[in-house]
Subunit: 202 residues, 2 copies
DNA sequence: TCGGATGCAGTGCAGTCGTATTGCAAAAGC
DNA sequence: GCTTTTGCAATACGACTGCACTGCATCCGA
């Protein structure tokens, strides 16, 4: 074994560069040479770690998934043990929304990948599975009958808020207000266990 | 004036071909030659009617906007005079959701353009204006205080349902159920004037 | 009848794309 | 010390891109 390098580290280095390019110029600007330049490495090296561009894209997509998953688990962990369902959901969703500049970049990439997978059904399967798990998890936290429909609606609301945030249609404050309003409806209408907390710091 | 041709007709012919290509292979597959082939015309002709590719893209985007606007006005007109707010909103939103195969294609193109404009802020301005008008209109139909937040939430829900429909995460039935569930919350919780109709045909 | 404008096809060009291939330096095993 | 394997750089190639340009047919106005 020659030269001791960590292949995974190299691959994530390249994937990070890819995401930087995609966030600023869109996925269609992602080429081997652009990514290599953004990563400060040679095009040959990119090719060395990803034999094909599709392989590189798939890896970058998995990085996006992992990153947002980590965001969620971090936010949940910060709430301590046995948080109220409403606070848990709010923290989860807020963690996934592109509210600050950093997560806006991630959101742009995610949106680009969304359009990307819409034309490549084979890459959409894992995303579907992720969403299925999310729906089930959220449904378990919601009160009342029709928890499935409510969970689907809540996650759709999150997705839509994200899109509108990226499009500049809503400010972070507006998005959070819409989210809290929706949580009000869900938890108050059905007499759920989670009242709205007196203060909702951002 | 030689040869009597309607330039607008030609341009929409080309734009339709563009949308066909974009719906099936994504926006990044849209090139002068591909669009020309899909339209059954020469590449030179495309170039004749759109001096630059950006011009063609901008026109296609405007066609997408016009088409969805027409979908809404059609759906509203079909409801007759003075429909109940809830029915009006449901019809509007259902008209904008990619529920059948035909509107799924349009939705795919719209999603692609969403990611497209996310990187080209100058093209996003008109979309922002459209959404602003929609929010105001919807807010006027909603009961209770916080109508603005409720309207933003409802439109975000619509957007998210559309994305999830395109991603294959939800079936049309699930999306409509989530929509009706949300409308239940909005109109029942605040004692609004619109009860849920006994039957909700699709 | 005859210019001239217009609609459109075709070609050429410089550039970028993904990928295959080659070359070479460095480190590990013999 | 020599071979082999690995990490990486560089180049070559064919396909494709957007765009400029040329050529030609058609039709209108004078």
């Amino acid at each position: 074994m020659p030269k001791k390098v960590d292949p995974r580290q190299r691959r994530t280095l390249i994937a990070d560069a890819l995401m930087r390019v995609a966030a600023q110029q869109g996925l269609e600007a992602v080429s081997l040479r652009h990514v290599a330049a953004a990563a400060g490495v040679s095009a040959g090296m990119v090719q060395h770690y990803f034999r094909t561009k599709d392989e590189m894209m798939a890896f970058a997509l998995s990085v996006v998934r992992d990153r947002s998953q980590a965001r969620v688990t971090d936010a949940v962990a910060a709430l301590g043990d046995r948080p109220a369902p409403r606070q848990l959901l709010r923290a989860m969703i807020a963690a996934l929304l592109p509210l600050d500049e950093q997560s806006r970049d991630d959101g742009r990439v995610a949106l680009a990948f969304l359009a990307y997978t819409a034309v490549r059904p084979e890459a959409a399967a894992t995303l579907r599975k992720d969403n299925r798990q999310l729906v089930d998890f959220v449904a378990g936290l919601l009160p009342g009958p029709d928890a499935d429909a409510a969970a689907a609606g809540l996650l759709a609301l999150m997705e839509g808020l994200g899109v509108h945030l990226l499009g500049g249609n809503y400010t972070p404050q507006q998005a959070l207000r819409a989210l809290d309003h929706h949580l009000d409806l869900i938890f108050e209408a059905t007499g759920g266990a989670g009242e709205r907390p007196p203060v909702t710091p951002t």
